[in-house]
């Protein structure tokens, strides 16, 4: 059963609403604690197709297929999942100019208690920069709607992956 964890329902609702408002109809995801409400919202929404993955790199293919079909999609993953998806991002999304809207929970930053999450936190931003992926941090509820809309717009106009880092102050209520 889902453990009672202090993940922000209010912020999750804001994020989910923003994704819906900018036309996202397919979401690929791999569960991680900060994403549990978002994944449940996608699952409960008859207008949304949720694709639960075995590994995050599959999501690049799902989003590419959806894009070819004219359907907007988003990817929900932890930063370790982003690291697991890099070859797909480079040798599919970059090579073939595929827009990806990646929402990445930024684990392993200040406040992280789980020792196993801490290395990913150190390298996520440098790797995003090395890959030339435009990204912004999302740490305030007030900015959620606009930032997600802006990310979607840039991804569609530039035909490239963009990332939003879901930060602890937005996702974790403790």
């Amino acid at each position: 059963m889902m453990a009672r964890v202090p993940v922000s329902v209010a912020s999750s609702k804001l994020i989910y609403g923003a994704l819906k408002d900018c036309g996202v109809r397919i979401i690929s995801a791999l569960p991680e604690t900060w994403l549990v409400h978002l994944i449940r919202m996608a699952e409960d929404d008859p207008e949304m197709t949720l694709v639960r993955l075995a590994k995050e790199e599959e999501g690049v293919g799902i989003s590419a297929g959806a894009h070819f079909a004219g359907v907007k999609s988003a990817m929900l993953m932890q930063n370790h999942g982003f690291l697991a998806a890099i070859n797909g991002i480079v040798s599919f999304a970059h090579l073939y100019r595929i827009p990806l809207l990646m929402l990445i929970s930024a684990r392993g930053t200040f406040g992280e208690r789980d020792p196993w999450q801490t290395q990913g936190g150190n390298v996520t931003e440098p790797v995003l920069r090395a890959l030339g992926i435009p990204f912004e941090r999302l740490d305030s509820p007030a900015a959620v709607d606009r930032r997600i809309r802006q990310a979607r717009t840039l991804s569609d106009s530039s035909l490239q992956p963009v990332a939003l880092l879901l930060e602890r102050d937005l996702m974790w209520e403790e």
Binding site: V51, R52, L53, E58, G61, A66, F68, G70
Partner: protein, 190 residues
């Protein structure tokens, strides 16, 4: 059995489908029979052809989607079997040409040369219809049944490790990608 003979067998049927291929020999051989705008050749990102087919099949449930995969590619993304099986789109046909070899890099043997059975992996992952075929006649029967049927199928075709002399064609990657997308958009307008 040669892969090119299998491709000849289904070439006419592919015209009405959305086709995603892997890189290398599969892409080059299908193009040698004649490129069409409904073909997308994923010339890298090994393993993701099946994921792309799944994304297409879920987004376009009224269109038949055919993935032309290979043993080397699907072995890099075995989880894709479980994801396809979980959503089991009835409009998706997954054909795996298993030559037991990473042919394009010099013919190094893959795990299927040592006994790994891809159709059994697919079946155990939950793919509702799985077959392994070893002759052109079997491939013809099973591929036509899958293409005309209405059930997620993984068809493993055991083929010789032989391919064209070059994998380069004059079709640019981005040209192919935008043509494919426009072709799908034109289907929606019909």
């Amino acid at each position: 059995m040669l892969r090119i003979d299998c491709l000849r067998e289904i070439y006419a049927d592919l015209e009405g489908c959305l086709v995603v291929t892997i890189m290398g020999a599969v892409a080059a051989e299908l193009q040698s029979l004649g490129h069409r705008p409904n073909h997308f050749y994923l010339q890298h990102a090994m393993g993701l052809a099946s994921s792309t087919g799944l994304g297409l099949a879920l987004a376009l449930p009224k269109h038949k989607v055919v993935v032309l995969d290979g043993d080397g590619s699907i072995l890099m993304n075995l989880g894709s079997f479980s994801t396809m099986a979980r959503y089991r789109p009835a409009n998706l046909v997954h054909i795996v040409f298993d030559n037991e070899s990473l042919l394009s890099v010099g013919g190094f043997p893959t795990a299927t040369s040592a006994g790994t059975d891809l159709a059994e992996i697919a079946r155990a992952a939950g793919i509702p219809r799985t077959r392994t075929v070893r002759t052109c006649a079997e491939f013809a029967d099973e591929s036509h049944a899958a293409l005309r049927g209405n059930e997620l199928t993984t068809l493993v075709a055991k083929v010789e490790a032989a391919g064209p002399p070059t994998f380069l064609t004059d079709l640019q990657l981005l040209e192919n990608r935008f043509q494919f997308q426009r072709h799908i958009a034109s289907l929606a307008k019909r």
